[in-house]
Symmetry: C2
Subunit: 466 residues, 2 copies
């Protein structure tokens, strides 16, 4: 069983290592063939680079292609470089077309050229067709290896046809009823065919209605349909309804994870990495982080400008400066709460653009209540510290405490509103809300928060401290 404990894994690992050291290729081949392809891939990843190709070469042909498709891109590239053209061809031809598309799009240009050169003319045409679809669309994830049946077949005829033609297809769990002209009419589950009266016409068998996607649909759209309709595979058609391929749920599970990772990294204020942390080169990672960090820094410089407008007030009442970090961080925190909530809801389609006004009303109430709460805590803190002689805020400490309270209501409300509305605005302007909301909100709220704070201070402290 695959859920074997890590102890078992470690023991197996040691045993295989010994076989490699002993150069016992026959026994190694035997042992590896009993494992799952993804587990063999994990073993290969853990090996020193020079041994990877050794182990890979002992795998049976078809299994090797399967294992290869589970390796991360950097290991795939390394292997391609150490294999002969003939071996590369075998691996490529054994891979499923959608995994091959993923490989071709992930490799550097010169590797891709070499790979394409090893393909047979037929496979080359098919690979070029799939690569012709825009990135992150359904076309890039589909496999042309599916089973079609004709509407006039009976269940038994369909099963016989599947038995004859079904080998090495992407999936057999669903087969497709296609007209003579290649137009997709219906899909039907293999299980429905098995359960049906063998003499029944396939078109008369009870089965959930068809759901299909277009080859140019965005992969997020495809993900939504899988989630909504609980399917294990969806057919892909062109604009005229001709069947082009099939997307299976395992690819979509990967897409779901990648989309969430991208959103989380963007919310963290950086470009999406597109690869696991340790697989990204140090300098390429620093570059991806430096861009946004510098942009944010340039934005935050406005805080220095804002502060210098109030330099006179600070010089008069240094006590005001003490609460600057507290005030702006509260605005930032309430803004980032609101932004991450709204961005995720927009991504999951729980919220639509037209809901902005409902969200606005909810958030203004939330903002005022949360701001009042924080302000109250801040007020108590200042009064308490003064009374307990922990800090000296001067004779006007009550007015200072009141300034902090009122400013926090304003700052938190502004943070909440800015954080919740900016994702809508970005979506409306056809930007990805995740890309830039959190950073924008932080800068916007910091600068505005300072202005709110010092304006409140001027109003409340005029004639006393200022």
């Amino acid at each position: 069983m695959a859920q074997s404990s890590t102890q078992d894994e470690a023991r197996l690992d040691l045993k295989l290592r010994q076989l490699i050291i002993d150069r016992n290729w026959l026994e190694l081949r035997e042992q590896l063939s009993d494992l799952h392809a993804p587990d063999v891939a994990d073993l290969i990843i853990a090996l020193p680079a020079e041994e990877e190709a050794f182990v890979f070469r002992v795998l049976p042909k078809e299994f090797a292609a399967d294992v290869f498709s589970y390796l991360p891109p950097d290991h795939q590239e390394g292997l391609i470089e150490s294999l002969s053209n003939e071996q590369v061809r075998t691996v490529l031809e054994g891979m499923s077309p959608d995994d091959r598309t993923r490989l071709l799009e992930e490799m550097p240009a010169e590797v891709t050229r070499r790979l394409l050169a090893t393909l047979s003319p037929d496979e080359l045409r098919s690979a070029r067709a799939l690569l012709g679809y825009p990135e992150e669309t359904a076309g890039r994830y589909m496999s042309p290896r599916y089973v079609t049946i004709r509407p006039e077949m009976t269940a038994q005829e369909a099963l016989d046809h599947i038995r004859r033609t079904g080998r090495s297809k992407e999936t057999l769990n669903v087969v497709y009823i296609v007209s003579a002209a290649g137009v997709l009419l219906e899909d039907i589950r293999l299980s429905s065919l098995v359960l049906a009266d063998p003499a029944a016409k396939v078109t008369s068998i009870d089965d959930p209605p068809l759901v299909a996607v277009h080859a140019t649909d965005d992969r997020e759209e495809v993900l939504k349909l899988f989630e909504k309709y609980d399917r294990v595979a969806l057919p892909v058609t062109d604009a005229q309804g001709h069947m082009l391929g099939v997307i299976t749920v395992d690819d979509v599970l990967d897409v779901a994870e990648q989309e969430a990772t991208e959103d989380i990294q963007k919310l963290g204020g950086m470009e999406a990495l597109d690869a696991p942390y340790l697989n990204v080169g140090l300098f390429s990672m620093i570059r991806k982080r430096a861009g946004w960090l510098s942009a944010l820094f340039l934005g935050e410089m406005l805080t220095a400008t804002a502060m210098s407008y109030f330099e006179g007030e600070i010089a008069h009442a240094v006590v005001l400066a003490l609460f600057v970090p507290l005030i702006i961080s509260s605005g930032g925190n309430s803004g980032s709460q609101a932004t991450s909530l709204i961005i995720r809801s927009l991504a999951l389609r729980e919220l639509r653009l037209r809901d902005w006004w409902r969200v606005f009303r909810r958030e203004i109430v939330s903002g005022v209540m949360l701001g009042s709460l924080l302000g109250f805590i801040g007020f108590i803190r200042i009064v308490l510290w003064e009374r307990l002689h922990l800090t000296e805020y001067g004779v006007h400490y009550m007015l200072v405490a009141l300034t902090v309270w009122v400013a926090l209501i304003g700052v938190v409300t502004f943070g909440t509103l800015a954080g919740s509305m900016l994702p809508f605005l970005l979506r409306r302007l056809n930007f990805d809300p995740a890309t830039s909301s959190a950073p924008f909100v932080a800068t916007l709220v910091d600068v505005t928060g300072l202005c709110i704070y010092f304006t409140v201070a001027l109003l409340i402290l005029h004639g006393t401290l200022l």
Copy 2:
């Protein structure tokens, strides 16, 4: 096709509305039966509350149960309240056991009691058994409706057995070879059975090796196995290997989405909402946000304490106060980049606990380089503004600019290290890294950043400004 445009949807919506107004139940029933269950659920959600039950009652029995399982919890609760006990029983018995478990765990206690009371003794026993597993474990997501075959069967015998017993099972895409004692021996895909020689023993048919989970395994663990092994269903066993149920990939896709949403909301500094934004009551949402926001606020109060230590320095050199927001926000931004990167990598198992030292070395280099870059930009900005007479920073402006540069190297490096190491620490202490890292990092970095900044200022400006 389900990918019909929003125009078509709107037209259909209007037509159905008209049928409801005309009280034309027969035609409505006809129209609705042609749709997908999730689409009918969407239609019902859009209706005024008092019409929901009307429409629901016209649906054919089995379809009604299917539609019901696609409704969000608040609508399910509303419907249960307006249906008779008899109708509730029909719906419950038509639901698949795993959807029923989800319903029972989501409803308020008194509704759950009423629901359990309507079940037959058999169904009640099964429901209680599933609810007996801890929340978010495999047991809560499994369905006991699967097909087992015996190891001595041939492919043809197995197919005949499936045809006899396969109706209303959770999935038929995979069936399970189980010993007389109920121990799970192997799983086999329906497609492999169809493709095999009808006379072949099921145990001799070529099919990927077994992957199984324990009923008490965490749902995240289950999600990882689905992703790794590309399955459409996984069997669930007890500790002795007896088969208990099956989990299908559609449920796991929902889990993947929920886990990502929880992580995003926690990274945004709040408790996970557990429901779509607009379905959560305003005050319950404010409560979920107020908790963390107050905790953060209490933490950030330390900045006021830190600032008051340096009150004398600020009074001497007000110019120092101007850069406080810029300095601490840079630390916060670099910290939140690092945290969101590391948390996601830990969640996806791209990083393990033992990798902390590799990460530490990478992040210290990243931090110093990013800090130097930002510091350089800040230095240029201060010198430029002074030379262009945009702001007057005084005669010692070069020293002030140098202070900002050096302080930023320290603050950004500290932010990066704190942001990347805290998730490891929290994981080591068995806390969920997502829960609290981002907020903790923000507070930690703000307070420490202030101390770094003023310490650097004391060192560089001693004898001139200070």
